[in-house]
Symmetry: C2
Subunit: 149 residues, 2 copies
DNA sequence: TCCGCAGTTTACGTCAACGTTAACTTTGTG
DNA sequence: CACAAAGTTAACGTTGACGTAAACTGCGGA
């Protein structure tokens, strides 16, 4: 079902093919399909997963090991062909709670980042105002006494 | 005036002393004072600069070279003992415009990050809702047919 | 059927941002 | 002033996240 080759995924998402193979090595992103000859074929779900990985990396600053743990926690819950389907009720509850804990942690982290970014933006805007004042002073000087010294 | 030693700065900000010396090597953060024996003494301004460096690194993801360029741009404007004071009017205008350009770029970048984070938070909240539904189903099953199979 | 491009594995290379160790010096407190 | 704790320079080591090169294979169009 419209599974796409590695080069196209790489270009679309803005990473190298090497990066995709590397994620494969780490078990982060194993393509869901393969051609008869053994070439990787990525589904849309795979691409979404890749973008998730990149967000966790670039926005939240996780390294690839941490990202692996996060994804594996969620995978267990999604449980396509995983543990969920045949798990006992207590086990299901455990998986669900783990995924919930990860989710909570991520939401807190995003919140913290947003707060810090908001603070930073405030400072930047203060500086921008200052710059405008300075520019005004400069214009006055240029108008006022162009060649005084 | 209450300039502090490298170890204390390191502990307060949460970096290693090695990191501070490294930033010194790169010209990113040269301590404003030194003891008579040659030991680094950091002022409050230095500490603020360090925190700025860390924000640019951790929040915006710049590498240390880019951070150096940003800081140097702003330094010229601050011009403690720099170019500003003795610069010609056109030169001053140029410096001011460069600093303004950097400031604008940073504000745009912060805005972009905020947008991406907001999107991510939305997805995380969706998932959290899903988890609560799942937990509800699970509770019903546990209540309903505890030992059916 | 042949060609060329895209993909594959294997393996070594790279680079930023520090960590670590060694040998030595300063600092400041009893 | 002695001495432990903290700092200094110089140099080499480490690590994650890929980049790059070589040698080989599969696949779609003329």
């Amino acid at each position: 079902m419209t599974a796409v080759r590695i080069g196209e995924v790489a270009e679309r998402v803005g990473v190298s093919a090497r990066t995709l193979r590397y994620y494969g090595e780490l078990g982060l992103l194993v393509p869901s399909e393969h051609s008869s000859g053994g070439a990787r074929r990525y589904t849309e779900g795979d691409v979404a997963r890749l973008q998730r990985i990149r967000e966790l990396q670039e926005l939240l600053g996780f390294d690839l090991l941490e990202i692996g743990e996060i994804l594996r926690g969620e995978d267990r819950l999604a449980g396509i062909r995983g543990e969920w389907s045949e798990a006992s009720l207590p086990r299901r509850r455990q998986i669900l709670e783990e995924a919930g804990a990860i989710n909570l942690r991520l939401r807190e982290l995003v919140g913290a980042k947003q707060a810090r970014l908001a603070g930073m933006l405030g400072e930047l805007e203060d500086r921008a105002r200052l710059y405008r004042v300075r520019a005004g002073e400069l214009a006055a000087e240029e108008q006022d006494g162009p060649q005084l010294s």
